[in-house]
Symmetry: C2
Subunit: 424 residues, 2 copies
């Protein structure tokens, strides 16, 4: 029993985070060729659905992005091996919460084979087209028999309009279900995109893995979709951080069913390709921001904007160094305009920096420049700004053209409570 | 006013950390050629000494190591430029707490010049032989006039046996003064080493910079001493971490006065050189451990031992990834044997790792091997072990000969309190 969970975990949204989107779960477009179902398998939680199944129409192409951890969980290794498999026949995605099937030795891959084989039989599709994810405790064998026992029930419940139920079934320490969608008109027809996500630490290995599933009816070639997913991951999901930790199970799958009556997208740089990529990026960014807003213990949503770096890579180093600094994050939690800690985090980032060219802003307020506090800055202005729930920290290095934007949250007592105080 | 301090900061040790060395400040050998004094300058604190002066005999050689931050404070830049200056005449070290003189623009270097010039006049030595450090709030001009005003008093108070007073005068959020010393007999005479340190976060830029001053009466050439200091820094002060943050002011100075009646050490690899280097390393390691034990909010002292890595560099990456992981550190605070989080931290480290060759130990308890929990492991054994105040986490990657050991502490509510709750 190496895992643990908050007593409110999976309570179905009764405790809404102050950073949850207003208005609750959004109305998402229904995607042709996608049917969803959820069920209670009792993997770990009781009294709530903990398994979701997505059935995808024949011809669906699937792209993905996965954790780069060297200790990736069995389902992740299986998914990675299947991306790019020819889109022959239908496909499916099966996800459970409560157990991550990570660091479970050879039993872990046996569980994956049992589940993918059974879903393939259930839906009469190729096992190489069945993707699974697991999120929850790590190091315990997945009781996959409990999931096998509800497969018939899942199949019977498949319906087009079940995105919110699916988003809830995959939650662990999340305090609200996460969804985002859009539609765009291309000359000749409409394309719809709908996604769900879970993840609240970034990303705890036992209860807060980030899982993202995005569905679209676009007609698109797999390599083109994969290119869009990979490039947009870099500026969305790879630009968020809650606590700098990385899950063994992070998974993003994007499935395009091709049922839209819009023209086929054959290139990323065509007008239709660019429009679709823009819409996909917007949905990915929306979901990524929701994951940060639900960061464990988060009370502030923080955007770190870096400009003037010697390179893009340096800009990212600086942004991530600030976003992951415990001293910066506790200062934000304390509503303390402690810009000295930002200077510290820039200094330790490993990026080229010149103290005397650096400038720092809190929103529009110029705080520091030319190696010292700005003449116009007052502690009162800074303190008033820090009381906001959404903050923008601007850092200009004054050296070059490198830019980066990342998003994070603060580090609060609640984070310690969730991760230290409660034992399973 | 960008800084902040705990209400107990600098209360002179009345609140002793549970991880403080038993028996209080150690009896340190008196070093010939070194005289110390402290005084109350009122830089920021009241009711306590906040400045210390060390006067060093003519011919003293000085070696050092400094923060690699790109936003180094003015005193650090000044010290770096003076290391290796010919050992003509006497030397001095002046340190103040309460203000870091960091990110203070051109005023910062003016303060350093004012202080080093005045100390040079006071002691009739070359300004290039006067080293200063400042620790405390950042971004505020150092009121160096208050320090200038007590220089005469400092000179009058200089005495050989003032190490504990000096260790107290440089404290900020530290809860106990830190000192370590030893002596060794070389054929022909005795060499003494005595050091003091401060630092409690690793290393907050405003209040918890790490400062270390080590004095010895060894007769040794500066390049030989510098070599020993640089190599031992890699395995002592660069192997500790409290919160992954790096100060703009971290400074280590080692001064050898040459007053011992032992033979001159001309090479690091001679028998005398090896013996002295070993003793110096021991003092450095002792002080480094004391800094971790006094980590902000620390309730556990944790050693991370990595073996079997593909390279030394990989071993260090893994050790630091585990030592800096907020999820590992909160699990330790919660006395939770959550080895899944250790697997996670190994996976994200960037080092070559193979899940199925990895093994993890808590002390002597084998917890996980071959990609899964060990057959002999029980949660009860793990939970009992985690209740200890001193923990050893062993990680073998099963790949090669790379080894590393680092030391850290846990992440507790008290860390958040110190860094978020109290405003200046």
């Amino acid at each position: 029993m190496s895992g643990k969970e908050s007593p409110t975990a999976g309570s179905g949204g009764s405790q809404i985070s102050p950073l949850a989107p207003r208005g609750g779960f959004p109305a998402l477009p229904v995607i042709g060729g996608v049917r969803l179902a959820t069920a209670r398998a009792g993997v770990r939680y009781s009294g709530r659905d903990d398994v979701m199944l997505a059935e995808l129409a024949p011809g669906t192409v699937i792209a993905g992005a996965f954790t780069r951890s060297a200790t990736r969980a069995a389902p992740v290794l299986d998914c990675e091996s299947k991306i790019g498999h020819p889109a022959l026949g239908g496909a499916a995605i099966l996800v459970n919460s409560g157990n991550a099937n990570a660091f479970t030795g050879s039993y872990g891959s046996a569980s994956v084979r049992a589940l993918t084989g059974a879903v393939a039989d259930l839906l009469s599709i190729d096992p190489a087209r069945v993707f699974t994810s697991s999120t929850g405790v790590i190091g315990e064998p997945l009781p996959h028999d409990r999931i096998l026992a509800v497969l018939d029930r899942l199949k019977a419940a498949l319906a087009p309009d079940r995105a919110e139920d699916a988003a809830r079934a995959i939650m662990t320490t999340d305090t609200f279900p996460k969804g985002a969608g859009t539609q765009l008109d291309l000359g000749g027809g409409t394309i719809r995109i709908a996604g769900i996500a879970k993840g609240s630490g970034m990303i705890a290995p036992d209860m807060a893995t980030m899982l993202v599933y995005i569905f679209t009816d676009a007609r698109i070639d797999q390599p083109v979709l994969q290119h869009m997913v990979s490039t947009s991951t870099r500026t969305t999901f790879n630009c968020i951080t809650v606590d700098s930790d990385t899950s063994t199970s992070d998974t993003l799958l994007v499935a395009a069913t091709g049922t839209a009556d819009a023209p086929r997208i054959e290139r990323a740089d065509s007008p239709a390709g660019r429009a679709f990529h823009g819409a996909l990026h917007e949905v990915m960014l929306d979901l990524a921001h929701q994951v940060v807003r639900d960061g464990e213990g988060a009370s502030k949503f923080v955007e770190i904007r870096v400009s003037g770096a010697a390179s893009e890579e340096d800009a990212r180093k600086v942004a991530m160094s600030v976003a992951n600094s415990p001293l910066v994050k506790t200062a934000i939690a304390g509503e303390d305009p402690n810009w000295g800690r930002i200077v510290m985090a820039v200094g330790k980032s490993g990026a080229v920096a010149d103290r005397d060219r650096l400038s720092i802003r809190l929103g529009d307020i110029l705080v520091a420049e030319k190696g010292w506090v700005a003449a116009s800055y007052t502690e009162e202005d800074g303190a008033a700004y820090m009381k906001r729930q959404e903050l923008v920290i601007g850092i200009d290095l004054g050296l070059g053209e490198g830019r980066a934007v990342v998003w994070t949250c603060d580090l609060t007592h609640r984070y310690i409570e969730i991760n230290a105080d409660y034992r399973s």
